[in-house]
Amino acid sequence: MDKYIFLIPLFPLIGFLINGLLGKRFGKGIISFIGCMTVGFSFIVSLFIWKYLLSLEPGHRILTQTLWKWMSVGGLSVDVSFMIDPLSMLMILVVTGVGFLIHVYSTGYMYEDESYWRYFAYLNMFVFFMAMLVLGGNYLVMFVGWEGVGLASYLLIGFWYQGIDNAVAGKKAFVVNRIGDFGFVLGLFLMFWTFGSLSYLDVFPKALELFEQGSLPINSPVLVAICLLLFVGATGKSAQIPLYIWLPDAMAGPTPVSALIHAATMVTAGVYMVARTNVLYTLAPSALLVVASIAAATAFFAATMGVLQNDIKKVLAYSTVSQLGYMFIGVGVTAYWAGIFHLMTHAFFKACLFLCSGSVIHAMSGDQDMRHMGGLAKKMPITYITMLFATLAISGLPPFAGFFSKDEILGKAFSFPYYPMAGKIIWFIGTAGAGITAFYMFRLIFMTFHGEFRGTKEQEHHLHESPANMTVPLVILALLSLFGGWLGIPELIGKFFGHVPNILEGFLEPVFEHSSNIVSQFAHHGHVAEPVEWTLMTTSVVVAIIGISLAYYIYMVHGKELPQKLAQKYAFHYQVIYNKYYVDEIYEFLVVLPIYYFSVFLWKVADAFFIDGIGVNGPAWVVKRTSSIVRLVQNGYVQTYGAFMLVGMVTILCFFIYR
């Protein structure tokens, strides 16, 4: 079976080449067929390989394929090789499976677009690079995919280049990602320097061997440096503080792109990379602490920022940043499988949410402002129900998928084996963030689907349910958001249903085996008592319910005092508003204002000033300024040029003599 691994990336590549080179001459039917079927074929191949993988002994579930020797330099030999183990298997199933659904959805969503072929070519190119990233057998092939998906994302964000903001957003995404990649490349160089290889199957055994020999102690500086540098790359790709800012802007791209690239697959590449490198991270607990802390901060702050967004996609964007934070909490507290589990369930429900929002935007003729929506549930029942499913999943209510994965992460965070105290804090922040998540997601549901329609008459006239090629993927993803979590039912709950095994944990176990050995060897005892576990689980559900209730209370019970409503039907609702005033005042004072100002602070000050201004535009400004100052020397006078040469030579000479 390992002979066929190369087919997975090959099909989308073929699709990209055909659509990219000839697509202009094809009809939309052929383009859609090629675009979808190539990804579909990849998915089928993945399924076959999966079946084969399951037939192997759990300890031997590693398939490798080497296509050719790529390059060798200074004892380092890099092959173009693929490796499939349970981790990459799961990833590739998600990438091709969800990717296929989103391709199908796109045939409906993008049908009117004039550059239909270009869109599908880019999308196939993305799937190709993503498959390279996931399947690569060494870090360099992963890096190829890593850069490639960045390029594809850049092209797709700026797909509607007519809007200047879109193009700027695309550029921002690329530049921010390059800053992250800078760290990633340095991490690779350092890894090569330390271990003399970049292949997964060489680096990790080598690290373990050095560790056992005692020449690579736990938390050794070089290892911490490697892990932190790689994590810099991950913060760029996976939108963590401080490099998260590109992701909300990336929503300028078409909605299916947001679903595929900026929610389900590409942005999770950082999580995959950390999970892939688990052996090194486990040997560098300080790096893990940094990962987990940044992740917790991101999870919480991004959630608060989601609260006051009115653009439906911006809400989802901040929510993605926040959820990525949860995944990183998972991998950061050595619960690698839990992070990957959440990655999978998040792929389902967040893709579903984005596609639903796409369906809504489609129905609203391109309007994304939730203040213009309302009461859409009646007009678009399928979209409503599927989105509700996904929202319940992201809010973490049982038995939806998000409950199991988020709970697993928070439970593991509570018992962070290396730093128990920090783990408790991270748990607290994470749980609070989960409450806020439930709040803003239901705010989205209530503002969009409930109440009365607040848009124009014309928009109301156009409201319609989307065609079948858009709704079928929605339904499948909604079902996955419900059942997907059942793959990883914790033991605690499982035993009530006759010892349902934790399928996913068992499947992924071989990948993280060495890490768990190291953890159990060196860390504090990580297990928590059963009652505590129950308490944690209940707490997170209760927090989620509080969040939902609050949203219901504010947006359903008092929903009518939304600013637009107020302006339009001031007289009619005057009485109502007047009566609720007091409550509002308290709410405003205690909840909205702090969150609002905090959100504004983060958004405007932290985001726009510190991070946009100094973090991203700052270097650009410095670069430009320096550039124009240095340019002054280039004044065109040949005497100056000659003088510089002479000065250069004399400097060299002086160095030689007075060395």
Partner: protein
């Protein structure tokens, strides 16, 4: 006196200097063809001269590639040497000449400049460059350097009506003469001190202990300065933007690749044969003592360390604020010189191999980029501003795609040749412990990505503001562009073949004596 002609036989000459001979004879023939065709129509003349030149370069590449690879030989009392190293770089430079000649057919027609001298000068420039890379004798190095440079000066000034071209070429000539003078002065001091001009004998002589004396150090610094000028390393780079901007686009591409390859090649030869101990590993007892010369490493390594760093930073930083694409690419070529120099600092086999690979990869992507630039330009300086590239992605999709490919390769994104080349040199530097330099190099390539991708961004994500009409596309230009593009991708996917050849080439440096 009598032994001058004793060792001479024609076959031997052909073996050692075949490439040069073909080009010189062909250049003379081209002069005759040019005057024979003088009365003919410009169209016919251009076609004949152009295709003949293409054929000459192809034949030269064929000869060089099929030459006995294992033959290490010298001629004229060690003036020229034939070895894998010089053949490799000769092929790189002749490839640059070939691609440039193919593009020139269309370029000259588009600019209404069809003149035979252009091709003649191009052929002589390559002949000089091959002579330069083959010479073991410092004086012959100077002569061939001038043969190459004079032809390039004239080519840079070829746009008679463009003041930019004239100004650039004049600056190039003045500063080039200055650089050559420095080099020649260094050579004179070497001769005065050691009594020889042959770099191997010089190495033998100075390894006796005089390497750290004042005259040798002065000579070393002057020779370095002379080469740094041609390599366009900061602070010897100042001529680059003016000349590259003014010169005909195709010639700019040729200068940035062939001249750079020649300068880097000959500099590495002088450095690793004459001033550092690679000869000691040749097994020749005469050169065993040259191992002493490793004491010179602490002299030149910090110098190149700083110059490489400065070149990478200044080249990339200034490129960001350029508005003319040729000027931008000129600064980018300074930055690339810095990257290549990183491979020299490593001073190990991998580093030299990386530089050779880099030279080849850079030749393909840079000439390719200038080829697209001249096509979009239509006439020289009609559409060279970056603003002119807005929205071109939808007007000229193929050209934009090719330019994007070349720029992506220059930015060093995988899986292109540019990435592999950077990887080789940085990996070699890291292996020798130059982690800081490699890290700073990667940082500068992040800056570099910004301006390369800005062009792509303008082409694909901006509305056009100005009607840009590209010039008519000649068939040979298309072929050249496609070859360059395929080469960039091929070297990105399968670099091993070229890398192993380059590795053999760099190993043969030890065999020059």
């Amino acid at each position: 006196m009598n032994n001058i002609n004793m060792s001479f036989d024609l076959y031997h000459l052909w073996q050692v200097c075949g490439g040069q001979l073909i080009l010189i004879v062909a250049g003379l023939l081209l002069i005759l063809v040019d005057i024979i065709l003088m009365e003919k129509d410009q169209e016919i003349r251009g076609r004949w001269m152009g295709w003949l030149t293409v054929f000459i370069f192809a034949a030269t590449i064929g000869h060089l590639a099929c030459r006995e690879w294992d033959l290490h030989d010298t001629i004229f009392m060690n003036v020229f040497s034939a070895d894998k190293y010089s053949i490799f770089i000769s092929i790189v430079m002749t490839c640059a000449g070939l691609l440039a000649a193919m593009m020139s057919i269309g370029y000259l027609r588009n600019n209404g400049l069809v003149r035979g001298e252009y091709y003649i000068l191009l052929v002589f420039a390559v002949a000089g460059a091959i002579g330069l890379i083959q010479s073991v004798d410092l004086l012959m190095m100077f002569i061939t350097l001038e043969v190459m440079s004079l032809a390039i000066y004239a080519l840079a000034a070829f746009l008679k009506d463009s003041s930019y071209s004239q100004e650039g070429a004049f600056k190039y000539f003045l500063l080039g003469s200055f650089g050559s003078a420095l080099f020649l002065f260094g050579v004179a001091i070497i001769y005065g001190t050691t009594g020889t001009l042959n770099i191997t004998q010089m190495a033998q002589y100075i390894s006796g202990g005089s390497y750290s004396t004042l005259p040798i150090l002065v000579a070393f610094a002057m020779i370095m300065a002379g080469f740094f000028f041609k390599m366009a390393m900061v602070p010897f780079h100042m001529w680059t933007p003016d000349v590259y901007e003014g010169a005909p686009s195709v010639i700019t591409g040729f200068m940035a690749t062939a001249v750079k390859a020649a300068a880097f090649g000959v500099f590495m030869k002088v450095l690793f044969v004459g001033f550092t101990p690679i000869l000691a590993s040749s097994g020749q007892p005469d050169f065993a003592a040259t191992v002493n010369l490793s004491a010179l490493g602490p002299y030149w390594k910090p110098v190149i360390w700083w110059l490489a760093l400065l070149s990478m930073f200044i080249g990339n930083l200034i490129a960001v604020s350029q508005s003319n694409i040729k000027r931008m690419l000129a600064y980018s070529s300074i930055a690339h010189a810095g990257y290549m120099a990183v491979g020299i600092i490593a001073a190990n086999g991998e580093g030299r191999m990386g530089v050779l690979f880099y030279l080849f990869a850079y030749t393909l992507m840079n000439i390719g980029a200038f080829g697209v630039v001249y096509l979009i330009d239509g006439m020289e300086r009609k559409a060279q501003d970056l603003e002119d590239y807005r929205g071109l992605g939808y007007i000229y999709p193929s050209l934009s795609f090719l330019l994007s490919l070349f720029l992506v390769a220059m930015a060093g994104l995988p899986p292109t040749a540019g990435f592999i080349a950077k990887f080789y040199v940085f990996a070699a530097a890291i292996k020798e412990g130059y982690f800081l330099l490699a890290a700073l190099g990667v940082l500068t390539s992040v800056i570099g990505a910004y301006y390369y991708l800005r062009v792509i961004y303008l082409m694909y994500m901006k509305e056009k503001v100005k009607d840009v009409e590209r010039g008519p596309i000649a068939a040979p230009t298309v072929v050249a562009l496609v070859i360059a593009a395929l080469g960039v991708v091929y070297l990105g996917l399968l670099p091993e073949n070229l890398a192993s050849v380059a590795n053999l080439a760099q190993q043969s440096l030890a065999m020059i004596f």
